[in-house]
């Protein structure tokens, strides 16, 4: 350690009128795992793109690589020659091609005319996979792999291309705990081989677990680079947001009468024999590993899929849902985990996204959709949820993650639900904005709504739920009250 792999000084970038990066310095040592932390819009992505040659910085920047070269900006070619690679969150793989072909794809681009044999590609892929020390069949098509394994393919691909510095953009966002652990182990193994890794992640616990140092950006400025030893999550989030977040566990109020009851609910192959009661004014935490059946259960309660056994009751009356339209009619709303694709129509306006669940209502009584009624509805929800919106006619994609999530919640609240299911409502949301989202959720419960909060972040559940149900391989493994346990023991129960 101590050897410099990549150093950048005085990096600034201006887009239009906004200064996205302001005199930032960045230093990466050889064989180091460094975290680049900061809220959305702090300039992380721009910095990564500059270090990879996608964007050119403003004049005055100096880049060096631990040798005598010092250059004003990095071209994409220079970045490749220096072994600098990025694995973007979308992984940029080719779903229809095999693992082997994905790994050697850069050869195809570099030597388009050279006749090739698939056998050679497979052999070369095997070598890299072995170097990674993972199990991957080179002949499988990437589309058949889970996200975690696709990530391994992406890592193998940059390794084969001679990566010495790897930027990983939100690599753990859609992984289960076990997969995260595997990835973190792999990261350590790579750094032991002398490869430097820059980790971009919102999950502070992981950041602290795997990184040696953390570089924090805020509003385009460098806050500082700190060793992770002795750093706490609270301190790190304070550095990122620039404000003290006072997180207090929810004060559980006495819950009201039962609203929704599940009795022995099962869906073959997904979950089995789930019984639970959801009361008025209560936040029920539903947790467990990815694939434990959380989302699948939510889909049944929302009428998207049908149970194969058991029954649901609402206010004591038997509830049969043939579709999610039925569920909405019965006052059940579901905020999907996939906000980007399922929760919002990204290219449509904030107005239309808010009104989409109640278009039929808004058309009454005259039978046409009055734009002013849509605007009034949206304005009302923007006010109530404190969404930061400059113009509700803009596409919803123009909002930050936290504000997009508010729009999703607003569109479901517009249906006036009695039961609100929130599936991982803070994925991809800044720490600062997370607190705001939970404030809204708590307020809704206090106003009498029955809420199911699905999350795999033990901290979130522990802080906000009145009761917690832990699912394991499709079955209820434990029911507990946060007040009777600690965040750490909840974390252990989830991962047991």
């Amino acid at each position: 350690m101590g050897d410099i792999a990549l150093r950048a000084d005085h990096v600034s970038k201006v887009f239009g009128h906004s200064r996205v990066l302001d005199d930032v310095s960045f230093e990466l040592r050889r064989g180091e795992v460094l975290c680049l932390a900061g809220e959305n819009g702090c300039g992380k992505s721009t910095l990564i793109k500059i270090l990879n040659g996608v964007h050119a910085p403003e004049a005055g920047a100096v880049f060096s690589f631990g040798d005598d070269t010092a250059i004003g900006h990095i071209t994409p070619r220079e970045a490749r020659a220096r072994g600098i690679h990025v694995i973007w969150q979308d992984l940029a793989l080719f779903a229809h091609l095999s693992v082997a072909e994905n790994i050697v794809f850069d050869d195809y681009v570099a030597n388009p005319m050279r006749p090739l044999s698939y056998r050679a590609a497979r052999q070369q892929a095997r070598e890299v996979i072995e170097r990674l020390g993972v199990q991957l069949d080179p002949d499988t098509r990437v589309e058949e792999l889970s996200i975690a394994r696709r990530q391994l393919v992406a890592i193998a691909r940059v390794l084969r291309a001679g990566a010495r510095i790897i930027f990983m953009d939100e690599p753990t966002a859609s992984l289960t705990r076990n997969e995260v652990r595997t990835l973190l182990d792999l990261t350590r193994a790579l750094s032991a081989q002398g490869i430097s890794i820059v980790f971009v992640s919102h999950r502070l616990a992981e950041v602290l677990a795997v990184c040696q140092r953390v570089t924090v950006l805020r509003n385009g400025k460098l806050v500082g680079t700190y060793p992770t030893e002795g750093m706490t999550q609270a301190r790190l989030s304070q550095l990122m947001t620039g404000q003290e977040l006072n997180l207090v566990p929810r004060q559980t109020a006495p819950s009201g009468e039962p609203v929704l009851e599940l009795r022995g609910l099962s869906r073959r192959g997904e979950f089995e024999d789930v019984s639970l009661t959801l009361n008025r004014g209560e936040i029920l935490g539903l947790t467990g590993l990815l694939g434990a059946g959380r989302t699948e259960l939510a889909h049944v309660v929302f009428g998207m899929t049908q149970p194969t056994a058991g029954e649901m009751r609402m206010h004591g009356k038997r509830l049969t849902l043939r579709s999610n339209r039925d569920a909405i009619r019965h006052g059940i709303a579901y905020v999907s985990e996939d906000r980007l694709n399922l929760g919002l129509v990204q290219s449509q306006s904030i107005n239309m996204n808010t009104a989409v669940t109640v278009l039929g209502e808004l058309e009454k009584p005259r039978g046409f959709l009055a734009p002013w009624r849509v605007r009034a509805l949206t304005a009302e929800w923007i006010r109530r949820l404190g969404t930061k919106v400059s113009d509700a006619e803009l596409a919803v994609s123009s909002l930050s993650g936290g504000n997009q999530q508010r729009v999703v919640i607003a569109k479901w609240l517009a249906t006036k639900p009695e039961v609100l299911i929130l599936d991982c409502p803070t994925v991809g949301v800044d720490i600062g904005a997370k607190a705001g989202i939970f404030e809204i959720i708590r307020q809704l419960a206090d106003d009498g709504m029955a809420i199911i909060l699905i999350s795999d972040e033990a901290g979130e559940i522990w802080m906000n739920a009145d009761r917690v149900i832990v699912l394991r391989e499709g079955r209820v493994s434990q029911e507990l009250t946060p007040a009777d346990t600690t965040e750490e023991s909840l974390e252990e129960i989830i991962n047991a």
């Binding site: 973007w88 979308d90 992984l91 940029a92 793989l93 080719f94 779903a95 229809h96 091609l97 072909e101 794809f105 850069d106 050869d107 195809y108 681009v109 570099a110 030597n111 388009p112 005319m113 050279r114 006749p115 090739l116 044999s117 698939y118 589309e143 058949e144 792999l145 889970s146 975690a148 394994r149 289960t176 997969e179 192959g269 990815l290 694939g291 391989e473």
Partner: protein, 329 residues
């Protein structure tokens, strides 16, 4: 846990084989050298189209202007040949390829430079090419084609029950074009990059794939194939009729999709495309031999395509579960 994996091509081959067995048993004439050779002779033009079209589909595009482009090539080439006094095979093929490629490149240019969706571009050029052709020809056919083009070129002649069974030149041309296309697609980095681009354009762009080049090649290559197919069709029917090929684009597209290509890109193969054409041809041939009314053919083709797509989509419903299982393990 790997199950027997045939791929689309294997399944198609089995179906064709099965149909062949049934037809051989139920009709007298199916399993004769003559009938099989005729099948190839008659389908060579469609197969050349299909070999070109599959490249565009793999690259994630679509082209419905190719059959009309082939008609344009026929007409232009024939007019030029007659004006210079005849020409020969080599010159005729080279000229057809060149003009066909140009027509294809025009599509590519519009798609790439102006970022228009390929189906819209080729609907436009389909109308443009056909309109120009009808305006300039006034719908008049050319009957006095050059001698070299007029006379059939036999390649293989086998004695058969009635006279002899002959395989003609277009079959050889089809074989050469198919092999060349197959080689480029599977045995060169460029070919794999086409699959990559079709599979994920953004990932390919970021990998440094030259997107313009991929477009130019895909549509240009299809244009070239269409040019050759046009010449072969004129050779087979010994005349150039301006509206002889219009309407062929959809059945050929259907055959290529049957052969495993998708409109989403990244999938498909030359073998599959050829087998797709062959399957539809065998069905038609069988219906003829069985004395079924020709009107039933389109209907049956429709059913076959729906059945094939439904079956392959049934398969796609499974991976979600497989992934969930994998995630748990």
């Amino acid at each position: 846990m790997r199950r027997l994996h045939l791929g689309t091509e294997g399944v198609l081959a089995l179906i064709i084989l099965g149909l062949g067995v049934v037809l051989s048993l139920t009709t007298e004439n199916f399993l004769t050298v003559q009938n099989l050779f005729d099948l190839l002779n008659n389908q060579s033009v469609n197969m050349i189209f299909a070999a070109g079209l599959v490249v565009v589909l793999i690259a994630g595009g679509i082209d419905i202007s190719f059959a009309v482009a082939a008609s344009v090539v026929q007409y232009v080439v024939m007019t030029l040949l007659i004006s210079i006094g005849g020409g020969n095979w080599l010159f005729g093929i080279a000229l057809s390829m060149a003009i066909g490629t140009l027509l294809g490149l025009f599509n590519a240019l519009l798609i790439y430079r102006f970022r228009i969706v390929s189906i819209i571009v080729t609907i436009a050029t389909f109308n443009l090419y056909f309109g120009l052709l009808m305006v300039f020809t006034g719908g008049v056919s050319i009957y006095d084609v050059p001698d070299w083009l007029y006379y059939a070129v036999p390649l293989i002649d086998l004695p058969a029950t009635r006279g002899s069974a002959t395989l003609y030149l277009p079959v050889a041309v089809m074989a050469v074009i198919s092999l060349a296309t197959g080689f480029i697609l599977t045995r060169t980095g460029f070919g794999r990059a086409i699959y990559g681009f079709g599979s994920s354009p953004e990932a390919a762009r970021r990998s440094g794939v030259r997107v313009g080049l991929i477009h130019a090649f895909a549509y240009g290559w299809l244009g070239m194939c269409a040019g050759v197919a046009g010449l072969m069709q004129a050779h087979i029917v010994q005349e150039v009729v301006p509206n002889a090929l219009i309407g062929q684009e959809l059945p050929i597209l259907a055959a290529v999709v049957l052969g495993g290509a998708t409109l989403g890109g990244g999938r498909g193969s030359v073998t599959g495309a050829l087998l797709g054409v062959l399957l539809l041809a065998v069905v038609q041939n069988g219906l003829n031999l069985l004395g079924v009314t020709p009107y039933a053919f389109r209907m049956i083709v429709g059913f076959i395509i729906l059945a094939a797509i439904t079956c392959s989509n049934l398969d796609k419903l499974l991976p979600q579960r497989a992934m969930a299982r994998e995630a748990r393990s």
